[in-house]
Symmetry: C2
Subunit: 357 residues, 2 copies
C-alpha cells in the first residue's frame, strides 16, 4: 500500500516525539511492504515565527493532499497568558480542524497495568478502564458567530450553535465505534438547560433507535463529570459536543495515570489527523526526555483508522507494551530505575518491531 503522510511536528517537544514516531512508521512500512511518502509542514508558534500565520496555506495544501496527517503538539509560553494577542498558536489548531473538516475527535482512554500506580485514583477503580471518548470538534461555542464584545468593551458574548447534520454525523461515528466494541453509547449533554443540548438529546434518541443492538445511556454533563471518576470501567463509548468534550476528555485522560501515553485521532471530511493528547511541554523541549509513546500510539491509530491496517496497528501497540514491561521508558513514567531518552525508547521499539517474525 502507498501511504502518503503529512508530518506536522509543531512546537516544543513535538519535533522530538515525531522523530521517533516516524522511525516506527518506517519500520512498520518496511516490515509489511508499504510504500511510505512523508512531507513536512509547519504549524503553531513556529509557523507564526516564520510566516506570521499559525496555519499557513502551504501546510493546509499539504494536509489536503495527504491520506493522513501526523501532528505533534503546538503552543509556546510566549503566546500564553496574553489573551488579547492578535495571532495565537491555538488559532492554527482551530483553523486546521475547521478547514480540514476534522469533525470527530476520538480518544481511546485505557489503563496500562504498569502505570496504574501513577493514577490519582485507586487501582480497583482504574484497572481495566477501556473506553473511547468521541468529541465533536468543529461546531458549538468554539466556532459560533457572533462572538465578541460590545462597543464599550464591557459585555462579551459567544454563540453555541449546532445543526442536525453535525450532530447526526458525530453520533453515527460513535455508534460505529460502539458496534465494534462493547455496544454501549453514553450521550452527554445539558438538555435540562440549553437549546443545543436539547437538539442533541432529541437527535440522539432518533439515532439510537437505528442501532437496536447498541445500548444507549444519557448523562447530563455535570453528572458525567462525576461518573467518569466514580465508575470509569463501566463506559464503552462516550459522545458529546465540543466544549463539554474539551473538559471531559481531559478529565478522562488523567484518571488512568497514562496521560503521557494516550493517542488521539481526528476524523475528517478531507483527511484524518493523529496526535498525542499531551501538549507541547516547552520546558522539556530539546532535552531528549519527552515521552514518545503517545505519539507512537497515534501512529498505531493512523494505521488502523486511516488505512484499515489492523495488524500494523496492533504490532505497534504490542511493541509499546513490550517497552513498558521491559521498563524502557522516559523519566515521566519511570519508577526509581534508570530513565531512558526519547530516542532510546523510540529505537528500542523499532528494534523490537524488526525482530518480530
Amino acid at each position: 500500500m502507498k501511504l502518503n503522510i503529512a508530518v506536522l511536528p509543531g512546537d516544543g517537544i513535538g519535533p522530538e516525539v515525531m522523530n521517533e514516531a516516524l522511525k516506527v512508521t518506517q519500520a512498520i512500512c518496511h516490515k509489511f511492504g508499504h510504500q511510505l511518502k512523508t512531507k513536512e509542514g509547519i504549524v503553531g508558534a513556529c509557523a507564526i515565527d516564520k510566516l506570521s500565520d499559525p496555519y499557513p496555506l502551504q501546510t493546509h495544501q499539504l494536509c489536503l493532499e495527504s491520506d493522513a496527517v501526523l501532528f505533534g503538539a503546538l503552543g509556546h509560553p510566549k503566546y500564553d497568558n496574553n489573551p488579547n494577542m492578535k495571532i495565537r498558536p491555538e488559532q492554527g489548531l482551530l483553523r486546521m480542524r475547521k478547514e480540514l473538516g476534522l469533525y470527530g475527535n476520538i480518544r481511546p482512554v485505557m489503563s496500562f497495568p504498569s502505570l496504574i500506580q501513577k493514577s490519582p485514583l485507586k487501582a480497583e477503580i482504574v484497572e481495566g478502564v477501556d473506553f473511547v471518548f468521541i468529541r465533536e470538534l468543529t461546531g458549538g461555542i468554539y466556532f459560533g458567530e457572533p462572538q465578541g464584545r460590545s462597543e464599550d468593551g464591557n459585555t462579551a458574548y459567544d454563540t453555541c450553535i449546532y445543526t442536525r447534520k453535525e450532530i447526526e454525523r458525530i453520533l453515527h461515528l460513535a455508534y460505529k465505534f460502539a458496534k465494534q466494541r462493547r455496544k454501549k453509547v453514553t450521550v452527554v449533554d445539558k438538555s435540562n438547560i440549553i437549546a443545543t443540548s436539547r437538539l442533541w438529546r432529541q437527535i440522539a434518541k432518533e439515532i439510537a433507535s437505528q442501532y437496536p443492538d447498541v445500548e444507549t445511556d444519557y448523562l447530563l454533563v455535570d453528572n458525567a463529570a462525576m461518573q467518569i471518576i466514580q465508575r470509569p470501567k463501566t463506559f464503552d463509548v462516550l459522545v458529546t459536543e465540543n466544549m463539554f468534550g474539551d473538559i471531559l476528555t481531559d478529565e478522562s485522560a488523567v484518571i488512568t495515570g497514562s496521560l503521557g501515553l494516550l493517542p488521539s485521532a481526528c476524523i475528517g471530511e478531507h483527511t484524518s489527523l493523529f496526535e498525542p493528547i499531551h501538549g507541547s511541554y516547552p520546558e522539556g523541549a530539546g532535552k531528549n526526555i519527552a515521552n514518545p509513546l503517545a505519539m507512537i500510539l497515534s501512529v498505531a491509530l493512523m494505521f488502523e483508522y486511516a488505512f484499515k491496517l489492523k495488524e500494523e496497528g496492533q504490532l505497534i501497540r504490542d511493541a509499546v507494551n513490550a517497552s513498558l514491561e521491559a521498563n524502557i521508558v522516559t523519566e515521566d513514567i519511570c519508577d526509581g530505575e534508570k530513565a531512558y531518552a526519547t530516542t532510546e525508547v523510540g529505537e528500542w521499539i523499532v528494534y523490537w518491531i524488526q525482530k518480530q517474525q
Copy 2:
C-alpha cells in the same frame, strides 16, 4: 438575634433532610437565645403538581421577605428524560436563582477523615483537601438570549453572555473568601477560545491587582478538570463562570468521597440560600434513610454567612464531626455496622448540641 427563615423542602428526600435540619436550627437558636421564625414554601415538582408552576409567586414573596432561605432539593423522575416538556422543575431553580439575584454559588469541598476510604481517589491525594469553589450562578449560557431553534427545527443555538459588573461582583466575592483563608485564588476560564472568557481573564487581572496579598492563578477549564483530580490539596479558592462551574463543582464534590455531606450557599442580592449539593434522590424518599448531614451543614453555613454567627456554625460542624466519629450515620456512609435512620442521626446531633456546655 431574630432569624427570619424561608423553608423550601422541595422534592424527594428534601422534606426529610429539611426536618432534621430544622430540629438542629431550633436547638442552636434555643442554646444561643436567638428568636427563630420559619415559614414554609413549595418549589419544584411538588409546586408544579399543586400550582402548575415550579416557583410560584407566593414562594418568591416568602423568600424576598426572609433573611435566609433553607432549600432541600428538587426534581422528580416523571419530569426527567423529557427535554421537550414545557414545565420542568429545574425552571423553578433557575427562576429562583435569577429572581432572587443569587449570583454566587459557594461550595466548600473538604474531606472528612472517616470518609476518605469512600473516595475513588487515593487517600494521599484527598487527605486534607479543603477548598472553596465559587461559581457564578445567574449569567452565562444558562440565561443568555437568544436561545432556541431555527424555524425548521434543525438548528439550535444558545448565547453565552457576561457583563463586567457580573464578573467583577463574583471575583470580589472570591477574593473576600480567599482573604479569610489561605490567600490563593484560581480563576478558571477558556480564554484561549471564547470571548466571554477573555473578558473574565482581563477583569480577573484587574481585580487581582487590587488584592496584592492574595496570590492569583489562571487555569484553562480543561486543565482545571485535570488538576482538580491530580492535586486537589493545592487549591484554596476556585472561581469560574456558570457552566464551567456546574461541571467542575460536581467533579470536585466527588473526589473527596464526601458527596452526601457537602453543603452549599447561594449569595444573593435580596437574600441568600443554603442547600445540600446532593439531589432529590427520589428512590430514597419516604424511607427515612436519606443522609441529613449535608442539609445540616448547610444550616451551619447559613449561621455563618447570612447571620455572621460563627460560633453557632462551628458548633453544628462539631456536632456533625461527633456523629461521624461515633458512627451514628445513615446507610450511604456506614461501613458494615448498623446504619441509622435519617431521624436518628438528626436527633443524635440535636442531643449532642444540647448537652454541650
